[in-house]
């Protein structure tokens, strides 16, 4: 056998699995279809979208908030091509970093489409059509996901686009329609709204970011409206057409009332589908279950030496979830027994203010008939937030009514994405709300809002409210 372990796909799940395998002494290969490593996350997902979010947020601040801070400047202009150029640089630095890590860990990188010949043999077809095969004892499938198209309006990549193309636009559009008010729709929607594009979001459900705690969706809706975004919630898209010069969208609400929207672009962000095309799963007898690769608790497929992680298996399609799974599989192969607590995988939306969540939502606790307490604390009452003018926000802590154990933490506000890690730590150790409130939090910080919300949850006794 050429390798102990071969990883197919070099996204955050795949490359982390490969590095962990190499660290554990396995001879490891990684196969990537594209020329650069890093998968969706680094190339067309998390990283480039954050680059654009940061650039446009700076622009937004310069335009709206500098004056209040006492910075007088000429009216700034958004330079979209420069933003995209900077984004490209950020992506390159990151993917080059992965290439370096592969070299450092002596992981062989094979570029091309990996496809099973049998359970121990993988054929790699390069872009030039050249084929080679490698043999391997074990395989980790980490091929990720692709944007789901509308069944009646496939991506034409010109005006009907996915998030991938939305990160490549260099000519400033005037109007953009976004189908789907989930994480991707809201993040890229705010990117374009901040630089002056008229953004309209059409969402089938009655709330935004519907899988998160209901309060989060409501707060996000309020702040997005402040940005000038328009919303059609509870609307089902019935037609979408690229007329050449613009897109025309038809939708209807629950009562059957129809609307028609026109825009320069329509970004379809209604979800992502697991990507297994060309993998040759039939060669090893793996059948998909609603598009996903079925795995057991150890992320093993029905074939003994083949594992699958990340977006191709069930669970949240999140880079950090895939990373945990990559680590878990690698360590299991070395005879270790790691755990993943799926409840405590945080979810983040990188709008500004940000949204971050971990644990149960209030809706879930209600459904489960759990006895719980809620404590929340607004950013408005936080000295740190006032100082920076980021007063839109709140922290909501859900705790067990009897034991005071923290069951969920939901943050809408500046820096929520980084703050949620503290909540994960507390919950991994099964801290009570009072535990957190009894730990010293530096003043003045945003994290004080978490502490105050914990005080509110434990016995409704916040200090600064």
């Amino acid at each position: 056998m050429d390798y102990n372990v071969t990883v197919i796909g070099s996204g955050p799940g795949g490359y982390v699995a490969a590095i962990r395998c190499a660290q554990l002494g396995f001879k490891t290969a990684i196969i990537e279809k594209y020329d650069t490593l890093g998968g969706t996350c680094l190339n067309v997902g998390c990283i480039p979208s954050k680059a654009m979010l940061d650039s446009t947020e700076h622009f937004h601040n310069a335009l709206h908030n500098f004056k209040e801070h006492g910075i007088d400047i000429n009216e700034p202009k958004a330079n979209l091509p420069q933003m995209i150029k900077r984004k490209v640089g950020v992506v390159k630095a990151n993917v080059d970093g992965i290439a370096f890590l592969m070299k450092k860990n002596k992981i062989d990188v094979h570029t091309g489409v990996g496809s099973f010949v049998d359970k121990n043999t993988i054929k790699i077809t390069g872009k030039d059509g050249k084929e080679k095969t490698i043999t391997t004892e074990k395989v980790i499938i980490a091929t990720g996901s692709k944007p789901t198209p509308l069944p009646f309006a496939p991506f034409d990549k010109k005006r009907i686009i996915s998030s991938t193309e939305a990160l490549e636009i260099t000519e400033m559009p005037k109007t953009m329609i976004i189908i789907g008010g989930g994480v991707i729709g809201m993040e890229l929607g705010s990117v374009y709204a901040r630089i002056g594009v008229k953004v309209t979001v059409v969402e089938f459900l009655d709330s935004l970011i519907a899988t998160m705690d209901g309060t989060m969706g409501k707060e996000l809706l309020k702040s997005a409206k402040k940005l000038g975004m328009e919303f059609y919630l509870g609307h089902k898209v019935t037609g979408l057409q690229n007329t050449g010069k613009e897109v025309v969208l038809k939708a209807e609400d629950k009562s059957g009332k129809t609307i028609e929207l026109k825009g320069d672009y329509c970004m379809v962000s209604i979800g992502r589908r697991p990507y297994t095309d060309g993998l040759g799963l039939d060669k090893v007898g793996i059948e998909l279950d609603r598009g996903r690769i079925p795995v057991d608790d150890h992320l093993k497929t029905k074939v003994d030496n083949i594992y699958a992680i990340g977006d191709v298996v069930s669970g949240a399609m999140l880079a950090h979830k895939a990373e945990e799974e990559g680590t878990l599989v690698a360590e299991q192969m070395a005879g270790q027994k790691p755990h993943i607590n799926y409840l405590l995988i945080p979810g983040v939306v990188y709008t500004w203010p940000e949204v971050a969540s971990v644990g149960y939502t209030e809706e879930q606790l209600k459904t489960d008939n759990r006895a719980y307490k809620v404590g929340s604390f607004p950013y408005k009452a936080l000295g740190r937030a006032r100082a920076s003018m980021d007063v839109d926000g709140l922290v909501k802590v859900l705790a067990d009514k009897n034991t005071d154990e923290i069951l969920g933490v939901h943050i809408f506000g500046a820096r929520a994405a980084d703050m949620i890690a503290a909540a994960v730590t507390a919950m991994e150790f099964r801290a009570s709300a009072e535990d957190v409130s009894r730990m010293s939090h530096a003043h003045p910080t945003y994290m004080e809002a978490v502490r105050e919300a914990c005080l509110a949850a434990t016995a409704n006794r916040p200090i600064h409210l």
Partner: protein
Amino acid sequence: MAQQVKVPAVGESITEVTIANWLKKDGDFVKQDEVIAELESDKATFELPAPQAGILKIIKKAGEVVPIGTAICEVQDSAGAPAAKSEPAKSEPAKSEAKAAAPTTAAAPKATGGVKEMKVPAVGESITEVTISTWLKKDGDFVNLDDIIAEVESDKATFELPAEATGILRIVAKEKTTLPIGGLICRIEIAEGAAAPAKTSAPAAKTETSTSANYASGHPSPAAAKILDEKGISSGAVSGSGVGGRITKEDAVNAEAKKESKPATQQSTASAQAAVPAIAGGRNIRREKMTSLRKTIAKRLVAVKNETAMLTTFNEVDMKPVMDLRSKYKDQFKEKYGVGLGFMSFFTKAVCAALKEFPAVNASIDGDEIVYHDYCDVSIAVSTPRGLVVPVIRNAELLTMNQVEAEVIRLATRGRDGKLSIDEMTGGTFSITNGGVFGSMMSTPIINPPQAAILGMHNIVERPVVVGGQVVVRPMMYLALSYDHRIIDGRESVSFLVRVKQMLEDPGRLILGV
């Protein structure tokens, strides 16, 4: 408050134990569930955990023989005094916490403050540990007294665990963890209907939860969970030193040190293994924790070797008559009774007839007495995915051939499904094992105590034998009888085996009793 520690009921036939060893000295401070003494019964040695934290006061000395139920020591609850001694800084925040939290406790009217700790009951002789197979109630669920809250598996059977109190369930041992008898399974925060507790009881309740149990007691940190799992130690078996009894990484690292006699080498091999998985040359080794079943088997087999005077006598049997009879009637038999006619019924019936003639082979030793059985409860060895189990065919001497076959199938199926009850596996008076199904030509089976003998069947091979001066080919099987020479003499054992041979070679004798 002082709590007396009494000798627990450790098994149905055990009436007294010897205090083998005090692991803690009189006056020592002991932690809850810390092992304080080793007790020895005639069947096994077991460990005695402290029921609560406090100062140990020894009543009975090492070496004394005491009946079940005798108080052998007291543990004086010192209400956190030693904690204050070792970490004086802690006491003040603890106090203020109690004060601050008082309103919370008052706001939750359900709890009475009492906590019932449910421990693994002694479920049968020779069972020293069990595995929690399924939790039927969730952590935090309200349970009523005697509600079935979990299914527990021993090496012999699965049984249900009823709640020992009414209240809120706090699970300590997760599913699939293995606990020793007496190990902490869960806690029930006792609730008395919806009655609000008296005001005075609120601070008392808080004090108790802060010193002993709470919902997070025994919760391992992420790193600790991984380490414990790799060591195959259940979190219930580790006492947490972290805040509120949480299991820290250090607790998990040390968990093994307590168990193993040579922690240093053990640990270094473990870490070396993790760092360099030598897979390249296929020189992998794998360490797996022995299952309860495996451990019991290991312990009992060694015990038999050591405690009996076991030896084996052999014979061979010409299987042609049985095989002829079988091929002649197997279809009719199947049609009539719905079960196939196998060899087991012939062997079982032949054995029963021979046991009647040689009652010592069907006896057992109990102390200074020999127990003779007027019935034949024949244990049959069944290989299951979990290991070997030995269910019993009751009163085999009264069963017809088809009844024996039906019973064999029933027991084997239940064995394979892991459904055999302890009752179905205890009390056999004689055993039959068939190594032939795996191709064994000849072996010396080992006695299944407290029985005195076991018959080993082997594979049937065509061999040249001399019949009436002629060399002919016959389907032959070697028979082995291992027996306890303490109560069975050579004459009896050999004659017994010859009788079995005779009846198999001439099944007509089975009918005539000659």
